[in-house]
């Protein structure tokens, strides 16, 4: 790793087949993809959906150098040295991203956060972070996707559009599979979609309830009231939610009659005003339903290993995201230690962004701050974030070039089967190098 790039992998024109490869584009983490690889290019991805195919087919080895410092090519060692100095010398360094890399790399990143006394936050904070807060308040009655495939006879999607965000969820887990207790597959299930928009997923549903924007909390509490057989004013219910009381009563009837009900919820809940209170309402409803039948909830997780990030950060610090280590022990406080806040409030003075693109996704105030401070980026592709980085590492793509572990959205760990080598180092290698240097720099200060 002493030059800008490692040796190119062999390109002899032969066809290599990788069976049961894992797609890490979305939280479904399908591990049944058969890849055909020719000249370091994936030419076929059997069973992958449109998003998965795009993920595999557009994977080419980026010709950018493995390391750029202030836009100029540099050796990896120089990049690691510079990165470690930025992080070790900062007053309030933050580490962010992590949902599109392996658990092994995530573990090292948390270690660096500990050494530098900074924040460790993941993209969870801007996807299901509010649900993470709700889990702590209400708990989560849940199950694996395998149980949903084998048992779920009432499947409700709320504020989620799997047809476009998790295209194989219907066929692999939630609607189509013939399960142990559902021999006729789709025919044995009822699917309900609750959303503000009549999305492409509505076609797959038997019942579609179109609610008014920002009325999820109210709608969920109406269902909680109906679960308790409370009487409600029909005019008020329809006025609040845009859906007649009779439709909610019908849904509650189905929920009580279901043998195994499932509520799968998306960012329609967590990104809308109310946020964790919306998720809390849904989790409380599911908990209530267990007085009548078996009912479970599951957030629809987006990035390939965002669930792994929650698991690894929780395992190491006790909290899933938004963790601060400045006192030498972990503290958790969403809104204070979360990256959207530390940047927008101009508190962070250095950052390391791993496999994420806040320069596209964050508020203008947060983006302006990030551009104003020194930061390090690790990403296989060029993005607005890598373009603005002080030190930008081009890394190998997890799952395609590197092995490791990822967690499916139901917390099931899945191994990766890489298709071919990359000339670029992995996130794990870069982060391990930075950790070594940060440790040495911090130890020198303490002497």
């Amino acid at each position: 790793m002493s030059t800008a790039t490692k040796n190119q992998a062999a390109t002899d024109g032969s066809l290599k087949i990788v069976q049961d490869a894992t797609c890490t584009f979305c939280g479904c983490v399908c591990d049944d993809i058969d890849l055909s690889v020719k000249d370091n290019h994936i030419v076929e991805a059997k069973r992958a959906c449109v998003l998965g195919k795009s993920w595999f087919f557009n994977h080419y080895v980026d010709q950018r150098p493995s390391c750029l410092i202030s836009g100029r090519p540099a050796s990896i060692e120089e990049g690691i040295e510079r990165a470690a100095k930025i992080l070790a010398g900062a007053k309030y360094p933050i580490i962010y991203g992590l949902s599109d890399t392996t658990c092994e790399a995530q573990r090292i990143a948390v270690g660096i956060g500990d050494w530098i006394g900074g924040n460790v936050d993941t993209t969870t904070s801007v996807c299901h972070g509010p649900s993470g807060m709700a889990f702590q308040g209400v708990g989560e009655v849940t199950c694996s996707l395998g149980e949903i495939a084998n048992r779920g006879d009432l499947i409700i999607f709320w504020g989620s559009n799997p047809a476009e965000s998790h295209p194989r969820h219907f066929t692999k887990y939630s609607l189509m599979p013939k399960g142990m207790f559902l021999p006729n597959g789709r025919k044995d299930r009822t699917c309900v979609l609750v959303d503000v928009r009549k999305t492409k997923s509505a076609k797959a549903a038997d019942i579609f309830l179109q609610i008014k924007p920002r009325k999820d909390f109210e709608a969920l509490w109406i269902l909680r009231a109906l679960a308790q057989n409370l009487s409600l004013d029909p005019a008020e219910v329809e006025d609040e939610t845009g859906v007649p009381l009779s439709a909610w009563q019908d849904l509650m009837g189905r929920m009580k009659q279901a043998k195994f009900g499932v509520l799968l919820f998306g960012m329609g809940l967590t990104m809308t005003r109310g946020k964790h209170l919306n998720s809390e309402a849904l989790l409380a409803l599911v908990r209530d339903m267990n007085a009548y039948t078996r009912f479970v909830a599951k957030p629809m997780r987006g990035h390939g290993n965002v669930t792994g990030a929650d698991n690894v950060v929780s395992w190491q610090t006790g909290y899933p995201f938004g963790v601060n280590m400045s006192r030498g022990y972990p503290r958790f406080n969403p809104g204070e230690y979360t990256t959207a806040d530390t940047l927008a409030r101009r508190e962070a003075d250095a950052a390391m962004i791993i496999a994420s693109d806040p320069m596209s996704n964050f508020s203008q105030a947060a983006r302006e701050r990030l551009l104003a401070i020194p930061y390090i980026s690790l990403d296989p592709k060029e993005t607005p974030t890598t373009r603005g980085a002080t030190v930008a590492f081009t890394t190998a793509t997890y799952g395609i070039n590197t092995a490791g572990t990822v967690y499916r959205m139901d917390d099931v760990p899945i191994p990766l089967r890489p298709a071919f080598d990359s000339p670029h180092p992995s996130d794990f290698e870069i982060l391990s190098g930075i950790e070594r240097r940060v440790k040495a720099l911090k130890a020198a200060v303490r002497l």
Partner: protein, 114 residues
């Protein structure tokens, strides 16, 4: 004359594929810079395909071309745009103690650009 709408940024298949194809490709750029509006609202406001409008939220302002939402995907009063630079510009930095900026269901004023 501007009118108030509720804007929902979200994932689309094309935007998702665009992430893999590259954020600087035309496909990603065009998918994330077009605003969907329900056909009834379009008609009422005298908007045609590709007309440009100004969207203003509490924190930002962007100019964007409009397209009619397919079928009855959007109810009147609701707009949709794929996640991207423009949707982020309309989002505020405050997370109300949650870590999550309000990123869906944003109040925006829509104004036709003459």
């Amino acid at each position: 004359m501007s009118e108030l709408f509720v804007l929902i940024p979200g994932r689309t298949s094309k935007q998702g594929c665009g992430i893999s194809e590259g954020k600087f490709t035309d496909a990603y750029q065009s998918e994330t810079t077009i605003l969907q509006i329900c056909p009834k609202d379009m008609q009422r406001l005298g908007l045609n395909e590709g007309d440009r409008v100004r969207l203003s939220s509490e924190t930002g302002q962007v100019e964007v071309a409009v397209t009619a939402a397919k079928g009855d995907e959007l109810p009147p009063g609701v707009l949709f745009i794929a996640y991207g630079d423009l949707s982020s510009r309309l989002m505020g930095g405050d997370t109300h103690g949650s870590g999550m900026p309000t990123s869906k269901g944003l109040d925006v004023a829509l104004e036709k650009i003459a």
